[in-house]
Amino acid sequence: MTGAPTTTPHRATSHAAGAYVVGRSLLHRAPAGPKLAALMLCSLALLLVRSPAGVGTATLVVTGLYALAGLGPRAAWGQVRPLRMFLPVVFALQWWLMDLTSAAVLSTRLVVLVALAGLVTCTTRVSDLLAAIERGLSPLARVGVDVERIALVLALALRSVPVIADLAGRVRDAQRARGRERDVRAFAVPLVVGSMRQADALGEALRARGFDD
């Protein structure tokens, strides 16, 4: 059973937030555990940076890291894209409550943080990430925490994002076809019902694949 696989007419792009991008850069080859630890430390450090110069430097460093990983502007945009709805609100609020400089520093910091997290997920296979998280949490197993289950939940959460996004797209298409674009209920009900159904089916598939046996 071989043959050239067909291309896919799909909504999602390979630069979706959090999706692994194949590569052989230094960052790709670095082990997942230290990368996660570095991400945590850098994020904490970034929270202490309040000057425009500091945030500017952080932006340059992260841009450099993307270049080092061989990831172009499209991949970087893919990571921070989910912020586009939310960031203008944060920016406007900060400007109103404080001043323009603070608003700019805070917003940039947020973008840099998300880009940095995206860089880790872009250069690390989910299985490696989960193995690192499992190792990191393993001391908790001694006090009865089911670490494997936590890792699986994280994997399922990542896996479910494109599935639910696809479902939302289909529901929106169906709504449009019936001329009900503005009806929130007509969007929410099928989406929730569909998600529940998907979750049920996933649970059944997990059992069929021997989870919990």
Binding site: T2, P5, H10, S127, L152, R159, D166, Q198, R209
Partner: protein
């Protein structure tokens, strides 16, 4: 309703079918199986032994055929009666049964658990029976067999519908089950991908139980069961069983 040429589903008739266990495959035995879900009797007294290499199950929507398929690996347990796979009761030894019986669902999106193609196949091998390099080799080998090797690190959601179903099948086959149960695996596929999946199901060495609305898929099968209203109403070679099923549908208003 039962045709004279049909095998009877009574216990005595079913025993005629019992043969020595095949090298690959299971001896599946259902004995007076009833399944009640809520207020509805989904299956009503099914007694049947399944030993042939290729078995098809057909029936209208709501006839109980998917429930019958789910009984075979213990996803659904009988309300009354017993289901045994190689002598293992699905009620008591569900885990062992599921190691023998792989299951393919109609919607591969519900079956693919991990974010990328290779990771999903590797997930099936996670039980610690293989070290990392051996697991990676097995995954690469199985993906290549099904033409998915170029997609190993791709997100599973970017595959086409046909590729997703091939991935779901690969993730089942990599564990080397003895029996593969497929519940309408081609429902969401176009004709070309339906043929690919059907060809794959036809050529694997495993015993296969295929539930499908696509009657053409069962042409070369050894045996076809027709389910209606929770009972096996016909049990024969494909041609007579499918002819019976068509007549049954024609008689309905």
């Amino acid at each position: 309703m039962r045709g004279t040429s049909m095998r009877t589903t009574a216990a005595t008739g079913a025993q005629d079918q019992t043969t020595a266990p095949p090298e690959v495959g299971c001896v599946v035995g259902l004995e007076d199986v009833h399944v009640r879900l809520g207020e509805r009797d989904v299956l009503r007294g099914i007694t049947v032994d399944l030993t042939e290499r290729r078995i098809g199950i057909v029936g209208a929507n709501g006839s109980g055929k998917s429930t019958l398929a789910r009984l075979l690996n213990g996803l659904v347990l009988p309300t009354r009666g017993t289901v045994r796979v190689d002598g293992l009761d699905t009620r008591r030894s569900g885990g062992q049964v599921r190691r023998r019986v792989g299951f393919v669902f109609s919607d591969p999106d519900a079956q693919i658990v991990m974010p990328t193609v290779a990771e999903d196949v590797a997930y099936s091998l996670r039980r610690g029976e293989h070290d990392r390099p051996a697991r990676d080799r097995l995954v690469t080998d199985w993906l290549a067999r099904h033409g998915l090797d170029g997609h190993a690190d791709h997100p599973a959601h970017l595959l086409s519908g046909g590729q997703k179903q091939l991935l779901a099948l690969t993730s089942v086959l990599v564990t080397s089950p003895r029996l593969v149960v497929a519940d309408e695996p081609t429902t969401l596929l176009d004709l070309r991908n339906t043929r690919r999946v059907a060809a794959l199901l036809a050529e694997i060495p495993q015993q296969v139980v295929l539930v499908s609305h696509d009657l053409d898929l069962m042409a070369g099968y050894d045996r076809v069961l027709v389910i209606d209203d929770g009972q096996v109403v016909a049990d024969d070679e494909p041609a007579p069983a499918i002819a019976y099923y068509r007549r049954l549908l024609d008689e309905r208003p």
